[in-house]
């Protein structure tokens, strides 16, 4: 790749790209991310749709908030189990809405630490926000 073809104007995400300089040497240049520059809006839209869909599932008691964050943060059951230090069998139950209320505060904190959020963030998912267009319970 030639240096002139490598430049991408994207200050939000800078990367190093190895290019052919004018003197024929292959050297690094600091440039921007192609995908962030061109498709960040598409990523954000898909992310929003996923959040909305998962939230609907939480509010209709199909899944628990733990499931919501596990999917959103792209973790497998095995990976979340190892990271939170919670047995897989127990974790499986925690993904179900019907078992969510039985989770202790201490265990919720273990999940919150992995997800890098607060316990309150997890609990807030269960609250009905009347401004939230994703809420299936409004207007019923």
């Amino acid at each position: 790749m030639k240096e002139k073809d490598g430049f991408i104007d994207c200050p939000q995400q800078q990367v190093i790209l190895y290019v052919e300089k004018e003197d024929g040497k292959y050297e690094p240049m600091q440039t921007g991310s192609y995908i962030t520059k061109n498709f960040l809006d598409d990523y954000e839209m898909k992310r929003r749709h996923l959040e909305e869909s998962l939230k609907r599932q939480v509010l209709s008691c199909e899944v628990s908030p733990i499931y919501y964050y596990m999917v959103l943060e792209d973790l497998t059951l095995s990976e979340l189990s190892a990271r939170a230090g919670i047995r897989k069998g127990k974790l499986k139950k925690h993904l179900e809405a019907s078992h969510f209320n039985a989770i202790s505060q201490k265990t919720l904190q273990l999940y919150a630490d992995v997800f890098n959020i607060t316990v309150l963030d997890i609990l807030n998912l269960l609250t009905v926000n009347t401004d939230d267009s994703t809420n299936t319970n409004t207007g019923s």
């Binding site: 990367v15 790209l17 292959y26 598409d42 992310r47 095995s78």
Partner: protein, 335 residues
């Protein structure tokens, strides 16, 4: 923060970048492509199903940690390494080293690097950063993926260093302890290249090396069966671009940086044929870049039917064919 006495430089890749940065700051004049090439960094691996991944994925570099290990072995550099059971102990040890003004590379979960934009951060336990100091409750970080030195809260660094799960860092840290006065770069370059050729051509596993590229080409048509819906599939297909270009590769899946290694190697070894090979590797990288651009385009347009995925598969087969020929020639050039 720019006045902090550590020379920070962005790099293509986090591990080769951290190793290069530590060595440069310790007085060794070595480039990232040389570090990458000598440590046999170039690679390919395809993983169709793994417990720790939610979706099929691939890698374009060797096993995390082996850049440091291989480089140390081949250049005679001694790195001090430590791991910890208890987070308190690991954080205390880091502080002790920083008090002695020793910059330290640490292995972390990328997800907790709060200074990076949210869309970049994923849970992956094999990111390497250099901790160069501490200011109050914050650590001063040199991250190859960020243009300047940055601050990271103690709580975030602690979480990142002691995240559990696959390839858990367990507080792993390292720094160069001794660097030989005389280094035989010729021998190291040849050894690193020989191993890279073996890794690409000979590893007897169907998902690694050139065979891995072929498996990827064949299996990509099965990706829709793993996806929740079209948007999920689109996201995963567009991640091909991220893995090849943005997630610390120097562009087109490390192939551009490897071309730079061969060009530098050509001069050090006095092998003009490596100059030709480096050009060829640059062109191979251009082909991979076409794949990453194609993947991002079909992902964005949701053109993800079997025909399009087959087309992508055929492009991958093309890369497997040229890389197989290339690495055979590179291997022959060592004789």
């Amino acid at each position: 923060m720019s006045t902090f006495p550590y020379k920070h430089k962005m790099a293509a890749h986090c591990e080769s970048g951290a190793v290069t940065s530590l060595l440069n700051n310790a007085g060794l004049d070595i480039t990232e492509p040389l570090v990458f090439g000598i440590s046999s960094g170039i690679f390919f691996g395809y993983f169709h199903k793994m417990k720790s991944f939610t979706f099929p994925t691939f890698i374009v570099r060797n096993k995390p940690g082996s850049i440091r290990d291989n480089l140390a072995k081949r250049l005679g550099i001694k790195f001090h390494t430590e791991q910890f059971h208890a987070p308190d102990e690991g954080m205390k040890r880091l502080d002790e080293l920083l008090e002695k003004n020793i910059p330290v590379a640490v292995q972390v979960d990328f997800f907790y690097m709060d200074y990076l934009p949210e869309w970049e951060r994923v849970h992956i336990n094999v990111h390497f950063i250099v901790v160069v100091g501490k200011a109050g409750s914050k650590y001063i970080i040199s991250d190859s993926y960020f243009p300047n030195l940055v601050e990271l809260e103690t709580a975030s660094l602690r979480k990142a260093r002691f995240a559990g799960g696959s390839m858990s860092p367990k507080g792993f840290l390292f720094y160069p302890e001794s660097i030989p006065k005389e280094i035989d770069y010729k021998k190291a370059i040849l050894k690193g290249t020989k191993k890279a050729c073996f890794n690409m051509l000979k590893i007897p596993l169907p998902f690694l090396g050139i065979k891995g590229i072929r498996m990827f080409a064949k299996k990509i048509v099965e990706w829709p069966s793993f996806a929740r819906d079209m948007e999920h599939l689109s996201h995963e297909i567009m991640k091909i671009n991220i893995l090849l270009e943005d997630q610390g590769t120097g562009g087109a899946g490390f192939r551009f940086m490897y071309a730079s290694f061969l060009q530098q190697g050509s001069v050090i070894l006095g092998k003009p044929e490596w100059g030709e090979l480096s050009k060829e590797m640059m062109e191979i990288g251009d082909g991979w870049r076409e794949i990453s651009l194609f993947a991002s385009r079909i992902g964005k347009n949701r053109e993800l039917g079997t025909d399009r995925l087959k087309e992508l598969g055929n492009m991958l087969i093309g890369r497997a064919d040229v890389e197989e020929r290339f690495f055979r020639r590179l291997k022959n050039s060592l004789n």
